[in-house]
């Protein structure tokens, strides 16, 4: 390599050379709340000011729940948490239970991919969002558009997550961090597809179902007027001594 070219590359902090392990990206990060995941991520958490791609094909494998601790932390700031094109309606009590301040959630419902990209870029550029979560899903977004979003994320000071369909895993992407999510039996399997500044290929299994198995659900019965009690249906039997009855008025 020519000395002049080497000088240029060495002077830039955003170019990583395998030979030069000491030249690492220094980005702000937010704790993922999962130690095994933090250990595998270069920044020790979800990197801020970059685009992070999460690739998954199905809903219901815990792909949002494992992100909630980070969102909960970011929602404590006086900024929006933008949900752009969420596939379903987020359920407030679930987010509140995870510590997310639901008054910070701003939901944007674009009609098409053009509006989706525009809304994502605007949210990133506004500087008033602590997190921008975009569900690109199966929209086939051109690389130039992804690069534009990555550029907008770079100038922002927020966490930017893009949910994309798994079929785009083979396609190149300008995102600095790419993770493939696969729900397995009681776990959410994560594979690092790309991570700027270090090697990729790490595999992590996050226990998702444990929470459900550990916590027994309570049976809730509402107080009904005497006239209606005649029609009350019998409660299913429970052997769990921990269960308690809550009466609402």
């Amino acid at each position: 390599m020519k000395a002049e070219l080497k000088d240029i590359i060495d002077s830039r902090h955003d170019i990583w050379c395998v030979k030069n392990q000491s030249a690492r990206l220094t980005l702000k990060a937010v704790d993922t709340h999962y130690r095994p995941l933090n250990d595998q991520l270069e920044q020790g958490g979800w990197p801020m000011s970059v685009a992070t791609e999460l690739l998954c094909s199905q809903h219901g494998g815990g792909e949002l729940s494992f992100l909630l601790p980070a969102i909960a932390k970011l929602s404590q700031t006086e900024k929006w948490v933008a949900f752009i094109a969420p596939p379903f309606t987020p359920y407030g009590p679930a987010l509140e239970a995870a510590g997310v301040d639901s008054s910070r959630i701003l939901m944007i419902h674009p009609r098409n991919s053009k509006e989706l990209l525009w809304a994502t870029e605007q949210a990133l550029k506004a500087g008033t969002c602590s997190a921008v979560i975009s569900w690109f899903g199966s929209h086939d977004i051109a690389t130039k558009d992804l690069r534009r979003i990555q550029h907008a994320a770079k100038s922002s000071d927020c966490l930017h997550i893009q949910y994309r369909d798994s079929r785009f895993a083979e396609q190149p992407s300008p995102a600095k961090l790419r993770l493939s999510l696969t729900p397995t039996d009681g776990q959410l399997a994560l594979q690092v597809l790309k991570q700027t500044g270090t090697w990729a290929g790490q595999q992590i299994g996050l226990p998702i179902d444990e929470e459900i198995r550990d916590k027994q659900c309570n049976v809730i019965q509402l107080e009904v007027p005497k006239s209606n009690r005649r029609n009350a249906l019998p409660m299913p039997s429970h052997n769990d001594p921990a269960q308690r009855q809550i009466v609402w008025q």
Binding site: G60, G62, W80, Y91, H109, P110, C129, I212, V219
Partner: protein, 472 residues
């Protein structure tokens, strides 16, 4: 005290926008009453009959005097003069009175303020005579004087009262702001200047003149207070701009948007208002009308932000035909309402930025932006805030379907979207709305054979199973 009187001797002519471009005269009782400089250069003089005027210059345009037009123009100028001082009053049909007390330092001294007034875009089209005084009446009197040099009476941004009184004394009695009979009576006494009137013993003068005149003299010399009612315009904004050519391209309409918004910003500043919504009307002569309503509450009267939102909205709702008229109405409220009355407001946290929301609404539409609603009842379907403390003990799904989806039952198997569901946890009984249509459900957490988790329930009324949400 420092008062400025702006005298507009040619207001009846200058009230017509084209007065600077063509010879124009205004008539009253079939006589020329006022004429502009271009008409004067054609030997048109005040008092000439209309026939004489036309004989001298056949292309002379003569308008009947329109007092309403003059009044509207004067009010417009009074509104504009709020840029210089918050206290502007209209003492007569051709004068404005500005209370400049405490304003000179803000404008960098009298010479700079005078330059601002004379070069301002609205006043530059008018012939102005300025008069400065320590009292309103002194300023009005000195505005008659064509040779008045305002710089001579201002020293270190304060008025030289002895100099002013000297100038007042030099004025002829014809310039006094009182009726012609009073002036005639003074003239009959052989008095020529105001100073000569002032030298007369007040009791002797009081016998001969009315108490109104004595009161006027006291106010003129500052011996008596003179409170002026400020001119207040109802804060309504409606401006229109026209184009000779019809345009359909947004970039061609943008200058009209900018022009209107700049006028609006000045209006909002003058009236201490905060704009909430812009109501645009884009029209053409074929009665085509295109309305644009733009929410701009978060823009804080900033022209660039309001323009951006207008552009976004007009991209979303493009015009279908070429237009040549752009009208703007503003919905606004006083800025004073923005300040909380409470000494200790309930929420000390700053409100979240609304500018992003308004930008998104302008482009995508209001229906495309939503917030997380707290549930209005214990039934999960009713998204909308009850205290959720009790529910927090139970696991809740992150996604909720807009309406529950039916689960197919094949024998003992539950099938949902091609997946076989098995129950992991439950049940959790939710029994509510007994006062209307009773909702009795047993909720379970189910898992599919693909490892996905759902929130399912059995409706105890119709014994059918539904999926309500997803544990994403």
């Amino acid at each position: 005290m420092l008062w400025l009187c702006i005298y507009l001797p040619l207001l009846p002519v200058e009230a017509y926008p084209h007065s600077t471009k063509a010879p124009l005269a205004v008539s009253e009782n079939h006589r020329i009453k006022f004429c502009n400089a271009l008409a004067s250069s054609q030997d048109i003089r005040t008092g000439q009959s209309l026939v004489t005027a036309w004989a001298l210059y056949s292309e002379l345009e003569i308008k009947d005097r329109d007092h309403q037009r003059e009044s509207l123009r004067l009010q417009q100028l009074a509104d504009f003069c709020r840029d210089f001082t918050p206290h502007v009053s209209i003492p007569s049909g051709d004068r404005l009175l500005l209370d400049l007390t405490g304003c000179l330092n803000v404008h960098g001294g009298w010479p700079k303020l005078k330059e601002k007034i004379q070069t301002s875009h609205l006043l530059t089209t008018h012939h102005l005579q300025l008069g400065l005084g320590n009292t309103p009446e002194a300023a009005i009197l000195l505005s008659h004087n064509l040779n008045f040099e305002s710089e001579t009476v201002i020293r270190n941004n304060s008025i030289d009262i002895s100099k002013i009184q000297h100038l007042i004394n030099e004025q002829t009695i014809a310039n006094l702001n009182c009726d012609s009979k009073t002036i005639q009576r003074l003239a009959n006494l052989g008095l020529k200047t105001v100073g000569q009137v002032k030298q007369l013993p007040s009791h002797a003068l009081g016998h001969r003149q009315s108490h109104f005149f004595m009161d006027y003299l006291s106010r003129l010399y500052g011996l008596k207070g003179d409170v002026r009612k400020p001119h207040i315009t109802p804060p309504q904004f409606h401006e229109e701009s026209y184009s000779l050519q019809s345009v359909s391209n947004l970039s061609e309409i943008q200058p009209a948007f900018e022009l209107q918004l700049e006028k609006l910003q000045r209006f909002l500043r003058q009236h201490q208002q905060h704009c909430i919504e812009l109501r645009w009307q884009l029209r053409n002569e074929q009665r085509y009308l295109h309305r644009l309503h733009v929410g701009v509450e978060a823009c804080k009267n900033n022209v660039a932000s309001m323009l951006k939102l207008t552009q976004l909205q007009s991209e979303k709702q493009p015009i279908k035909r070429a237009i040549n008229q752009v009208a703007l109405e503003s919905i606004h409220r006083p800025l004073s309402l923005e300040i909380a009355d409470d000494l200790f407001p309930e929420s000390l946290s700053r409100p979240l930025d609304q500018q992003l929301v308004e930008t998104l609404e302008a482009r995508l539409g209001r229906d495309r932006i939503s917030y997380l609603k707290a549930p209005t009842s214990h039934r999960p379907d009713d998204l909308g805030a009850v205290d959720q403390d009790d529910l927090n003990h139970a696991k809740r799904p992150t996604w909720l379907f807009k309406s529950p989806k039916l689960i197919l039952q094949r024998g003992k198997q539950m099938i949902f979207e091609g997946q076989v569901l098995s129950l992991l946890q439950g049940p959790e009984r939710i029994d509510t709305q007994w006062w209307s249509s009773r909702c009795q459900r047993d909720y379970y957490i189910a898992k599919s054979d693909r490892g996905l988790r759902y929130w399912v329930y059995k409706d105890l009324v119709n014994r059918r199973w539904f999926v309500q949400g997803i544990f994403a």
